[in-house]
């Protein structure tokens, strides 16, 4: 689709150092904003130290995580703790619409980046914060990572096998979710900025973002007093709604209706329409082991392609348990152009394009090298001359 990107007139300063906040700023870059990542001189954003790396060898310029979180951004280095750095940052703020942070309230205080301080000088600025527990409340200063947010949101407790420890979801899903929530908050603040004549603070806690996802478990408590437990790969509402092995991998077997006669049509196994243990969804959940044994007699004779295609033909929501290389070859995703190859210092990598492609930049820009755009940014936006920049670099400010 043609048309300008929605945020082509918007400038974002991203001083954040976490997955959620960096991803938030990246989403704005995906929509065409000029996002400037501000990193510590020499050290850079700590996510540069996290993998994946080519060959598993750490290198500040080759982190796959940093690449993913900082696509569509320019990059500068700036020591915000120094007087000169702090004053340079304020010159950048004068032309910015948004500042994105991930630091705890006490760190923002030290850096002079609290909302009160910034908004006093730049009242139109939207300042976003993404932290584990938010900027207020007794736990605001607590350190957090993905698993801590999953734990405190109530999500971790309900995921895993009965009698086994709670089980975390792979990757950083709730950090990413908080990033999306924060981006929505920023867009809302920008949308209403002219009408109220000022910017505002957008405060997102990863714990709360995750709790949004876990709200059903919470309503079970507030509506019924029920505390949800772990039941493995099964679903509380009934069975079969699970993951099963097949001839060449795993499949998601999903069948919601009251009766499972359609499973007899699919598998030829009579018990699914006649066995009294399988009459209603809760009975089936109680006898899920027996049911799975029967289902596996069928799934273990078929490939995942056969199972998923046959299920979908009968209007049952069966699906693959895809691995990454299978997704890259998935005919639906490739047909729709869901991926893009990006060249960077670590080689060429293929990543998913933003799902809102019609609103996104035509092609994605690789993440910046440390301080890559210092000269462009500081001379264009802060009016620094060559000599001044040379001095700042020598002093370790940039």
């Amino acid at each position: 689709m043609s048309g300008a990107t929605p945020l082509s007139r918007c400038r974002v300063l991203d001083v954040s150092e976490s997955v959620g906040a960096s991803y938030c700023a990246r989403l704005l870059g995906d929509m065409g904003a000029d996002v400037i990542k501000v990193e510590r001189p020499a050290l850079g954003d700590p996510t540069r130290r996290r993998g994946p790396f080519p060959g598993g060898v750490p290198d500040l310029e080759m982190s796959g995580l940093f690449l993913w979180l900082n696509l569509n951004k320019r990059g500068v280095t700036l020591d915000l703790r120094s007087t000169a750095g702090s004053s340079l940052f304020r010159s950048l703020c004068a032309s910015a619409d948004v500042v994105v942070t991930s630091q705890l309230a006490s760190e923002l205080e030290v850096l002079g980046l609290t909302y009160d301080e910034l908004s006093a000088r730049f009242p139109l600025l939207v300042v976003a914060s993404v932290t584990g527990f938010g900027l207020s409340g007794p736990n605001a200063e607590y350190a957090s990572t993905e698993i801590i947010a999953a734990a405190t949101s109530g999500q971790l407790f309900i995921q895993g096998d009965r009698g086994q420890p709670p089980l975390k979801t792979a990757g950083q899903p709730f950090e990413h979710a908080a990033g999306v929530h924060a981006a929505i908050g920023i867009l809302s603040a920008l949308w209403v900025r002219d009408a109220i004549g000022r910017g505002q603070l957008v405060d997102v806690a990863v714990q709360e973002s995750a709790a949004h996802f876990t709200q059903m478990a919470m309503t079970w408590y507030t509506h019924l007093g029920v505390i949800q437990g772990r039941i493995g790969s099964r679903m509380p509402f009934g069975h079969p709604f699970t993951i099963l092995p097949c001839l060449d991998g795993y499949v998601a077997i999903t069948h919601l209706p009251q009766s499972t006669e359609m499973l007899t049509v699919l598998t030829g196994i009579q018990a699914f329409s006649s066995d009294p243990r399988f009459l209603d969804p809760l009975d089936r959940l109680q006898h899920a082991n027996e049911m799975d044994e029967l289902l596996m007699q069928w799934t273990m004779q078929h490939t995942k392609d056969e199972i998923v295609q046959q299920g979908q033909q009968l209007r049952m929501a069966f699906d693959y348990v895809n691995e990454i290389p299978e997704l890259l070859e998935d005919e639906q995703l490739t047909d729709r152009g869901a991926f893009e190859a990006i060249d960077f210092s670590g080689g060429t990598v293929t990543v998913p394009r933003p799902p809102f492609r019609m609103l996104a930049v035509d092609s994605m820009r690789r993440a910046p090298r440390l301080g890559e755009h210092n000269w462009d940014v500081f001379s264009d936006l802060a009016g620094c001359g060559g000599e001044e920049l040379f001095w700042l670099e020598a002093a370790g400010v940039i």
């Binding site: 796959g64 949800q228 929501a317 639906q332």
Partner: protein
């Protein structure tokens, strides 16, 4: 609150909401919390999930389609209009409403709207500035466009399930179908982006956003690992490739846990000092050492955690700078003192007049904070408002529409007889680990919820 504007950020934006179940309704709920006027449309013969799940206090009541807890949480901050889009009179009303709206959002299979003649090409004629967002499972084009998807199957499709699991175990499903809310939240981004583009003078647009393509964003770094190294990481339980140790550790009590995530050697030394195991700090100085001897590290830490309450363990670790958190049950979250101070919960009323806390908007905005603007609407509750006030139809015309069954204030299909949930069965299969008999009292005390005494005692007699 003092100093805060009563204004909501999306005030003045009207959204026509055809979505069902969770992904789309989560998107429009966010828009509603932000102040958009969301008009949820249900066909008189096809209520949206109103009879699913469980009833408030396990009492389905006289109008059981008004008591679903799932429906109530997914559809707050919206108005309800019933409308049969298959009848020409229903289509006429729909087009009139679209003409005065900013956004239409739907998550049907891609066949449905064209079959009704209500796809973007037709609706653009009545409103050239319209933003039309489709949120199908797999997108409106491509060989799998008509495949059925649920949030859970999207989790499997996206790669998340194959990457998640206990060490040496099979792939593990997400306990919550995250494919749904993830699709919904990217849907909101799409709506907002399109609003900005329209404001810049670019007119309306149709956005086809596949939920499957939304969820693969969450495994982005794994695609990069594959490109770089041709590898899928092994399923590793709660461990992390960078942070070690990271796991759930048992605490005092039954099924009580604390999550600990050590992100640096400094934190590791603090942890060892706290638990009185200084030798351990020397034995495994680096993350690589600790990863290699995970079992031994876990054994030492568990010895200390397993005799202490999870809240105390987490607080003690945080006090020395180590990332830790109690593995909260839903009950712990509802009564989390930190969330209470942050004002993370709002009391939302229900058709029976009682109130319950719900988690509020997804971000705290300082000047124009969103809020739950209204409880989930009763079926067709806003028919009069939409048809009369917004569209200017007279009472006679509204009565005609009702006679034609184009609108209705109750479902026009036989609904299954709604029984209370048999909570003893939930306990038996493990879906519930406990049923708290005091939950009403606690919600009154801690949240100030208004909860009348139950008319029956089904919840407790079921036990």
């Amino acid at each position: 609150m003092a100093g805060k504007s009563q204004r909501l950020p999306l005030e003045g934006i009207r959204v026509v909401d055809l979505t069902r179940v969770w992904a789309g309704p989560y998107a429009t709920r966010i828009l509603g919390d932000l102040g958009a006027e969301v008009i949820k449309i249900e066909a008189p013969f096809l209520p949206d999930g109103r009879t699913g799940g469980y009833a408030l206090d396990n009492e389905p009541g006289d109008d059981p389609w008004e008591s679903s807890g799932i429906y109530q949480k997914n559809n707050r901050s919206k108005r309800s209009l019933t409308l049969d889009l298959r009848q020409p009179e229903g289509q006429d009303v729909f087009k009139k409403l679209v003409a005065i709206s900013d956004v239409v959002i739907e998550n049907y299979s891609p066949r449905v709207m064209p079959q009704l003649g209500l796809d973007y090409a037709h609706l653009r004629e009545v409103n050239p500035a319209l933003i039309f967002v489709s949120l199908p499972g797999f997108g409106a084009s491509g060989p799998q466009k008509d495949w059925l998807a649920y949030g859970t199957t999207l989790d499997s499709h996206s790669g998340l399930v194959s990457l998640t699991g206990y060490q040496d175990g099979p792939p593990h499903r997400m306990a919550i179908a995250i494919g749904d809310p993830v699709g919904g939240m990217y849907g909101v981004l799409a709506v907002m982006g399109a609003l900005f583009r329209r404001r810049a003078g670019d007119g309306g647009s149709h956005l086809d956003l596949a939920q499957s393509e939304a969820l693969i964003q969450f495994v982005g770094p794994f695609f990069i690992d594959w490109s770089m190294n041709g590898r899928m990481p092994d399923r590793a339980g709660n461990r992390d490739p960078d942070y070690a140790p990271q796991d759930c550790f048992p605490c005092a009590g039954d099924d009580e846990w604390v999550a600990i995530s050590v992100t640096s050697d400094v934190e590791w030394r603090s942890l060892c000092g706290l638990i009185g195991e200084s030798a351990l700090a020397l034995e495994y100085p680096t993350a690589r050492d600790r990863r290699a001897s995970h079992e031994d590290v876990v054994r030492h830490i568990s010895r200390w955690t397993s005799v202490r309450p999870k809240m105390d363990v987490a607080a003690a670790l945080q006090a020395v700078g180590v990332p830790a958190g109690p593995v909260n049950t839903s009950r712990d979250v509802v009564f989390d003192p930190h969330l209470a101070v942050r004002g993370a919960f709002e009391l939302v009323s229900h058709p029976d007049g009682s109130t319950r806390p719900q988690i509020g908007p997804m971000a705290h905005l300082s000047e124009t904070p969103g809020r739950v603007t209204r409880p989930a609407p009763r079926f067709g509750a806003d028919n009069a408002y939409v048809l009369g006030k917004l569209l200017g139809l007279d009472a006679e015309r509204v009565a005609e529409l009702e006679a034609l069954k184009v609108i209705s204030d109750q479902p026009l299909i036989p609904l299954p007889d709604r029984q209370p949930i048999k909570l003893e069965r939930w306990l038996q299969v493990g879906t519930a680990v406990r049923v708290d008999p005091e939950y009403r009292e606690l919600l009154r005390e801690q949240h100030g919820a208004t909860i009348p005494e139950p008319t029956t005692s089904s919840a407790r007699t079921a036990l």
